[in-house]
Point group: C2
Chain length 143, copies 2
């Protein structure tokens, strides 16, 4: 008998600079498009550590975790598999410049008004809307 | 080659009544002791739905999810496996009486002053301390 099948834990980082811009990465793999940096949580790894590791691989940035915002688990959020993503608000110092690496072809800053909403993969538009509301009001996503 | 090994997503419910008491269950299986009701998230299942399903099996209660509080992922939180738990604050109407079922031998109400802190399994003492602070102040666990 195979073991019980579980959703796969992942993490995504919303990295902001002091001007409130956020980093998005252009994915190298399918589905192509812009996305938050992030990836899978390893066995034995705390989610915050996975967030720092994965987002650094894709952006080159060292950053600070500010708050754990929400864990997204809609089974349709990723067309490939059932993944669960724990999202962190993160910050970097002024002047930090992202540089695409690993699974990211490109990584760059976007002000809220510049976010390519229609070109965001997965449920990252929803996550980013929740993030900007939290950044303005301190209110997290509701049930 | 085996697939990448991932931590296992779980969920726990802090179910409160209008007096602020919370439900704990006495586990039937090892490790024995008091715990929050909860369990594994199934493939294809949203975490909130898993929370309602698992906690109902163990307490008999129908309840409302009030807020998603935090996702705990320290690899040492469960001595058996690396599990990640997304914790919800939940509420029931006055007069609801929990009844142990499934993996729970017993389920009952505890006021904060009655919680058997030393007999709590896993990291549930930490989760409950975070919960009571949130219930008093609205502040979630910090990074």
């Amino acid at each position: 008998m195979s073991e019980h099948r579980n959703p796969l834990p992942t993490t995504d980082a919303v990295i902001a600079d002091p001007r409130g811009r956020v980093v998005l990465v252009m994915r190298k793999n399918e589905p192509r498009g812009w996305a938050l940096p992030g990836g899978f949580v390893d066995w034995g790894e705390e989610i915050g550590a996975a967030c720092r590791r994965e987002a650094k691989e894709e952006t080159g940035l060292d950053f600070e975790l500010v708050a754990q915002l929400f864990t997204y688990s809609d089974p349709r959020r990723d067309p490939r598999k059932h993944t669960i993503s724990t999202v962190y608000a993160c910050k970097v110092a002024a002047g930090a410049e992202p540089k695409g690496g690993d699974d990211a072809e490109e990584a760059r800053w976007f002000a809220e008004a510049e976010v390519p909403w229609k070109e965001l993969c997965f449920d990252h538009a929803e996550i980013l809307r929740d993030y900007f509301r939290w950044a303005r009001t301190g209110e997290r996503r509701r049930m």
